[in-house]
């Protein structure tokens, strides 16, 4: 089988983004958790929380390194694989791309300071202050880069006549209709996923029989924030539905196999589609729920795919990506909720092994939800790279060498994945919390 350069460029971009997003998500979310843990440690004068922040920060250095290099890769691949797109988009959306590098610069500087000054200040609060710019920088990076993705979905702030771009308004392009819900969704889901990954590691240790105070505090902390961020993510997800219904209806319709424009539209979960008759079999039907997602009431009219020319439909398999993402998001909220409930009412269930196992599963599942969400976001925008203005195939390079580069980068990411995992494992196994507490003279 042979692919054209545009398809290969899409595969390579998907590979880079799919790999980078793991580390980018951790990079945005984990600093928040570090900030919370160290703050609690200082306020409660509890060395367990300080140690937690210390250990999280140590693991974070490795993920950040992979995040930086894969981020550099995607930054350059935008120009290498999509030169025609960047030539056009660069004129309108260069501002946030440019500002993202500043935000990252800012973050990198303070991360360096934070990591190397743990015991340098008499007042521990001074050290804590250095994590704040890291949190601001990483979240601001996410904000700027997400505005670029939002722009690809709902471009505005320019006019296009005879192939020439005019009347450019950089701020308007940046704050396009997709920006608020997309940014909020990216941030909330990154915080959620990071909290769950940290919780999963902790729950795993407890299951392995390390049930000390240190681990219990860590799990309670991550689960409380996991619940907060899960609820936040779901609320923002609902807003995203309303945004799509208004500004990008074909994307929502494709996700829900919604063909005829009508009120009282149903939400379908799963099922199979007969593309000829547009009939759906075997789906779980939630009557009127799509209308609620789209506009808050069952009477909201939801635009169907048949209102759009078929060549502009996104691939219909996005339905499964969307459903799975939503279900996983709900799962995380339920697991975190159960843990909090157990702690509040039935204390003996707080450390129930099945509950712990569900938390362990929640870590990887949260990351899968992130991947599915981005796949839905990108595939659901097809055939456009710049919705309404430029098709994906028109933006790609014409070079015949993309295939070889794809193989090279696939190898690189495989090596990075294996080595970073083994480095992290070794790092934490050779220096267990128990050992470290002993060394630092912390009561276990």
């Amino acid at each position: 089988m042979s692919f054209d350069p545009a398809t290969l460029s899409r595969i390579l971009t998907a590979l880079t983004l799919g790999f980078h997003i793991i580390f980018a998500t951790i990079g945005v979310g984990v600093p928040v958790m570090i900030m919370i843990a160290e703050w609690l440690g200082i306020r409660k004068q509890d060395p367990h929380y300080i140690l937690l922040a210390r250990r999280w920060a140590r693991g974070f250095t490795v993920t950040v390194a992979v995040g930086v290099v894969t981020g550099t890769a995607i930054g350059m691949q935008l120009s290498l694989l999509w030169p025609s797109f960047m030539k056009v988009a660069g004129q309108v959306i260069a501002l946030p791309l440019f500002m993202e590098t500043f935000a990252f610069f800012f973050e990198a500087i303070f991360l360096g300071i934070y990591l190397y000054t743990w015991d340098r200040f008499k007042k521990p609060l001074y050290h804590w202050l250095f994590v704040i710019p890291v949190v601001i920088g990483s979240s601001a990076s996410a904000f700027f880069i997400t505005t670029v993705n939002a722009f690809m979905n709902t471009p505005q702030g320019f006019t296009l006549a005879n192939g020439a771009i005019a009347a450019i308004e950089p701020i308007k392009a940046m704050f396009n209709p997709a920006t608020p819900s997309k940014v909020a969704h990216v941030l909330a889901s990154s915080y959620l996923t990071s909290a769950f990954i940290l919780a999963a590691i902790t729950a795993w240790s407890i299951l392995k029989g390390k049930g000390g105070e240190y681990h219990r505090k860590a799990l309670r902390l991550t689960m409380i924030w996991g619940l907060v961020f899960a609820v936040g993510t779901i609320v923002v997800g609902d807003l995203s539905g309303k945004f799509l219904a208004k500004y990008q209806p074909e994307k929502l319709a494709a996700a829900e196999w919604h063909f005829e424009t009508k009120p009282q539209a149903d939400l379908l979960l799963g099922g199979t589609l007969d593309p000829e008759t547009q009939e759906v079999k075997g789906a779980l039907v939630l009557p009127g729920a799509l209308s609620i997602l789209a506009g808050g009431t069952t009477n909201t009219e939801v635009k169907g795919l048949n209102d759009f020319p078929q060549e502009l439909w996104p691939p219909l398999y996005v339905h499964y990506l969307f459903d799975l993402m939503v279900i996983l998001g709900m799962y995380l909220a339920v697991v975190a909720g159960l843990f909090i409930l157990a702690r509040a009412w039935k204390k003996k269930y707080e450390w129930n092994p099945w509950l712990l196992r569900s938390i362990v599963a929640g870590g990887p599942l949260a990351m899968i939800a992130i991947e599915l969400g981005w796949m839905y976001a990108e595939i659901g925008r097809q055939p456009w790279i710049l919705r309404g203005y430029m098709k994906t195939s028109e933006g790609a390079t014409m070079s015949g060498d993309v295939g070889q580069m794809l193989i090279l980068f696939a190898l690189l990411y495989a090596v990075l994945a294996i080595v970073s995992t083994s480095v992290l494992l070794r790092m934490f196994r050779n220096n267990s919390p128990e050992l470290e507490m002993q060394k630092r003279g912390i009561q276990q």
Partner: protein
């Protein structure tokens, strides 16, 4: 100053920043590996690690900043360079990725590995070589536009004496800049043994740097005579550069004022780099892109400049803080903190 001049000046300053910071970083990686295999590891590595650890991520940002900035100010560059540089660009990227991540793996992981150190050390030489090639390509003759196709003439690139002299210059410059900085750093750390080794490296690489510069100068004449003549017109900058070099060399030879010597090295490269850059204008890519016809709209250009000013207001104090805490904190440098 016109918008395009402001844009290119800002970007060139950042590229210069990258050349200095990255050279120190690349060279340090090489010396660190070299020290390890020749058994001089202990002394030199200590100095190098203390410098590199907190700073390495910052290095990468200079490069990303330059790339994003040039695409922002001059969108045509994305189209021409992006298409032509897919293969060399990807290879440089992979090297950068290996280098950055393996540095972190080696440094933060619980055991040091010779493989990591090898990758870290050797990529430090390949990266400047491949990045310098982009400057070679910008001189024209290696990218051709045929209809709507843009192609990079790899064979010509690999057989061009000009191209190889640029690679040679890049390598020796990296080693010279790096060793002169590390000499200063070792001296500040009062690590006499490391200082001795690093100083001898700085002296060793000094003359090849000048030799390579002349080589580039001479082969430029054959490759791009227009640029060569423009360089002659701003030849005073190159004379100044030479003077700074001799001053730096003199200080290092007399074991005096290593900090000042390194400052002279920076100025030596600054004057040569800006002499080169200024004479390169108005072309960004001979003969396809000039800063005048490739520039973005004035609205976007102004927005970028404001963003840049805002960014500097934020970054400069932060960078000063970083340097105060690590590079110039006597206690930290000596390893007491």
């Amino acid at each position: 100053m016109s918008l395009e001049m402001i844009g290119i000046t800002v970007l060139w300053i950042f590229l210069y920043g990258y050349v200095i910071v990255a050279s120190i970083d690349f060279g340090a990686g090489f010396f660190s590996y070299y020290g390890k295999i020749t058994g001089k590891g202990e002394i030199v590595n200590k100095v190098i690690n203390r410098y590199l650890s907190p700073v390495w991520e910052v290095t990468n940002v200079f490069l990303i900043f330059f790339i994003v900035g040039i695409v922002g100010f001059f969108p045509d560059t994305a189209y021409y360079y992006g298409t032509a540089l897919l293969v060399p660009g990807s290879i440089a990227l992979i090297l950068l990725a290996i280098r950055g991540s393996f540095y972190a793996f080696n440094h933060y992981g619980s055991k040091t590995s010779n493989v990591y150190l090898f990758l870290y050390g050797t990529t430090g030489l390949f990266i400047p070589a491949s990045l310098a090639t982009v400057l070679t390509i910008s001189e024209g003759g290696f990218i051709v536009e045929e209809g709507s196709q843009i192609r990079l003439l790899m064979d010509q690139l690999f057989t061009s004496p000009f191209s190889w002299s640029v690679v040679f210059l890049a390598l020796v410059s990296v080693l010279f800049i790096s060793s002169s900085f590390l000499t200063y750093y070792a001296n500040k750390a009062e690590d006499r043994e490391a200082e001795k080794v690093l100083r001898s490296w700085a002296l060793f690489w000094a003359l090849p740097t000048i030799f390579a510069s002349f080589l580039v100068f001479v082969s430029m004449r054959n490759h791009n005579v227009e640029h060569f003549n423009a360089m002659l017109n701003s030849s005073w900058l190159f004379v100044v550069s030479m003077a700074f070099f001799l001053a730096a060399l003199g200080l290092i030879m007399q074991r005096k004022a290593y900090g000042l010597a390194f400052l002279f090295v920076m100025l030596q490269f600054a004057s040569a780099f800006f002499g080169y850059g200024q004479s390169h204008l108005p072309y960004l890519l001979y003969p396809y892109i000039t800063i005048h016809d490739g520039v973005t709209s004035s609205v976007m250009g102004e927005a970028l400049i404001w963003a840049f000013i805002g960014g500097l207001v934020l970054l400069v104090p932060s960078l000063v803080l970083l340097m105060k805490m690590f590079l110039f904190d006597a206690k930290y440098v000596k390893g007491q903190n």
